[in-house]
């Protein structure tokens, strides 16, 4: 009988060989955005289905209904395009898998800071040609547009929505219950601490909370650093970057959190809070104040069913020279595997869904109407994609449908255009946020933490990251 060992060897070797072959055969040539000879010049465009980002998973049914209505209107304008909405929430931890798996919709959203890297990696479709078709291509805020432009000067991602400044959100009801005046929110960090302690004392509810997980903790930490006049990284003249996590502002904010936690017991002690869960906790009345993007009210209403009457918005307290407000936003990008017909449809959708409501009176009114009827936020303060004048014009058009209590947000809207703005750190943004996550978590869970040592250690790691680029 033939030796089973030879046969075994054969089977195992073929398995290995198959593995090796597969490994080598994995070099799929990158999709070449070849010029399609039949590019969009047909008199009768072919039927095309476009998958787009709709709403965050779990949003209210009314929000979905409103989205569907707008989709119907778009499809009327362009009968050859069928739009498929895909639920989507950008999360640092799942985006990569979606990208790798090619499961992102044709049109999806990315944060401002990721665009450059994605462009460098060749993961976004080149939209330059289609972008040029927009009449208002020249009117974008240059800084924002630059974020979505590649080194070759082509546009790969278009500023789309939610250009925010980080601001302070608070629960007016809890303020009142604690004996504070809801129209007089805190304007310094000391006041924030004071009010938080008072709320905890009088109502038993946590007065303050901070995100701490999935890189959102670091995001807010960076915002607080800017607000106190510090920076987490600095560009050097020779093009390299230096990590400056151990600056005074960061230290001060960590100490602020530490005190809230261990001395006043006024902070919600949950280190798993991220952007979505802190919203949820806020809407459920489990905390009174927190910082997040200025436009988060939309989500609070659409996804968490918050009653806007209880909501208040004010500016992040800015202290120290060089204090600024962290600004970020969302760009719309198109899947790199999209062909020209898809890109064409995509730009039309981007124009309709994201931008036309800012520029075209009819669209603005229509969109606001639909949103208003669906119980969604209309008029939530955002920073302008085009210009301040355009923004104010847009607000005028929508005036009849604004359903957010703008008078409860004057703390922010009064100063929003005057605040100095600082962009998110440009290098290794997400990893930096990840490191700062640990700092926030450490401070909230370890009473005896040595903040200096912690920051020194994290800074070393941060520098290593910057150096490895």
């Amino acid at each position: 009988m033939r030796s089973p060992r030879t046969a075994t060897a054969l089977v195992l070797t073929s398995a290995l060989a198959a593995g090796l072959l597969a490994g080598c055969a994995n070099d799929d040539p990158a999709e070449d955005p070849s010029v399609d000879a039949e590019a969009g010049e047909d008199a009768e465009p072919e039927e095309i289905t476009l998958s787009v980002v709709s709403l965050i998973p779990g949003s209210e049914p009314e929000a979905f209904a409103a989205f569907d209505e707008r989709v119907a209107e778009f499809e009327e304008m362009y009968p050859y395009i069928t739009v498929e909405g895909v639920e989507y929430e950008w999360r640092a931890t799942t985006f990569a898998a979606q990208l790798a798996g090619g499961t992102l919709p044709d049109v999806y959203e990315i944060p401002l800071t990721d665009a450059k890297t994605l462009i460098q990696n060749g993961q976004l479709a080149d939209l330059d040609a289609e972008f040029a078709q927009l009449d208002y291509a020249n009117e974008f805020n240059e800084q924002l547009l630059a974020a979505g432009t590649g080194e070759d000067g082509h546009v790969y991602a278009i500023p789309a929505k939610s250009i925010y400044g980080v601001a302070l959100h608070y629960n007016r009801d809890l303020f009142e219950q604690a004996g504070l005046d809801p129209d007089d929110p805190p304007t310094t960090w000391d006041e924030v601490a004071e009010y938080a302690a008072q709320i905890k004392r009088e109502t038993g509810v946590a007065g303050f909370a901070t995100m701490a997980a999935n890189n959102t903790g670091g995001w807010q930490m960076t915002a607080a650093t800017y607000a106190r006049g510090g920076r987490v990284q600095e560009a050097n003249e020779d093009g390299t970057y230096t990590a400056t996590l151990d600056n005074d502002a960061t230290r001060a904010h960590l100490e602020f959190l530490h005190e809230l936690r261990w001395t006043d017991d006024a902070i919600l002690a949950d280190t798993t809070l991220d952007w979505g869960t802190i919203n949820q906790a806020f809407a459920a009345g489990q905390l009174a104040m927190y910082t997040s993007g200025s436009d988060v009210l939309n989500s609070l209403m659409e996804t968490n069913g918050l009653d806007p009457a209880t909501y208040g918005l004010t500016a992040m307290p800015l202290e120290g020279d060089d204090a600024g407000v962290l600004v970020g936003g969302t760009l719309a990008a198109v899947n790199v595997s999209a062909d020209d017909a898809t890109k064409d449809a995509a730009i039309k959708w981007i124009d309709f869904w994201y931008l036309s409501t800012l520029r075209d009176e009819q669209q603005a009114v229509r969109d606001s109407q639909v949103r208003n009827e669906g119980g969604q936020g209309v008029g939530t303060p955002v920073l302008p994609i085009f210009s301040r004048e355009q923004y104010e014009q847009e607000l005028e058009w929508k005036a009849d449908y604004i359903n957010v209590p703008l008078d409860q947000m004057t703390g922010y809207t009064d100063v929003m255009f005057d605040q100095p703005v600082v962009g998110e750190p440009s290098r290794q943004t997400q990893p930096f946020y990840g490191l700062l996550d640990s700092a926030v978590q450490a401070v909230l869970t370890d009473e005896g933490v040595d903040i200096d040592a912690l920051l020194a250690d994290l800074n070393e790691q941060a520098q290593a990251l910057l150096d490895s680029e």
């Binding site: 089973p4 075994t8 089977v11 195992l12 898998a97 798996g101 919203n279 996804t303």
Partner: protein, 330 residues
Amino acid sequence: MTLVRPTTSPTAAAPPDLPTASAPVARPGIRRGAGAPRDDEERGAVSDADWRRPGVRRTLRVGHAVLLLLLVVWGVGPLLLLLKFAVTPTQDILRTPLEVFPNGTTWANLDEAWNELEISRYFLNTIWVAVGAWLSQVLVAATGGYVLSVLRPRWAKPLQWAVLATLFVPAVVLLVPLYLTILDPPVGPSMLNTFWGVWLPAGASAFNVVLVARFFDSLPREVFEAARVDGAGPFRLFWSIVLPMSKPILGVVSVFAVIAAWKDFLWPLLVLPNPDLQPLSVRLPTLQTATDMGVLMAALAISTVIPVVVFLLFQRLFLRGAGLGGAVKG
């Protein structure tokens, strides 16, 4: 496919194979010893004589009572709380979780979970996933075991080694490359966002194959010979002889396949990013952020009902399969 075979839990162990197809462990005869036990098979260390001694009896009785109490708290406690939360208003859950319905119950949670959260859809997805995974595992294990045990071609031994070898490869090694294989299979389009991406890998369970093969080994060969003499070919033999005799082992494989599919988390998380296709285990954590605590609890409760009911209905099968391996000595 459960990534950490055989279950995803740390303290469970793979139940080694079942010894034979016949009724479990028939103990021969009755041996008269001191205080002849009534039931030889289930004798245990404690003899009748021991029982008669009041000291022993009392200790054991107390021990049993305490154990029973602990087990009730252990097994049923958390589930009872879950059921309670499912019908409690959210504020009550958050503020006074242990009080018994200070503000009455609310069926709205369950209603909202089923309808608005569309738990019904994810429920259905979970069933789809479970059914497909079950079919896949039964098919591969039955045919594979048949080849290895009954048909026994020349290449059976090396094949068996190749299959066994995968038992020793921890699931973690497969995670990334299997994902990439799903993204880009050797033939055909990507299996991402399709149930096939979950069904097919589930079948690659060496444990099942070995289990079934060992079982087939224990089937009496005479029956096969008789069938062959009567002119049965391999297909006939499989379908009409072997399969009907294999109900017990296929039952065990099925039960574990369904439960494993119901519990699987990481793999469907990676392979089914489209929320419409996600089973309960993947969807529930995502819904956590957008949902009221009460509704979430209701959703959790609904997700637990089927496995618990299936378990209670098929207790014997479960417990026998889960434990009979213990009869194998080192």
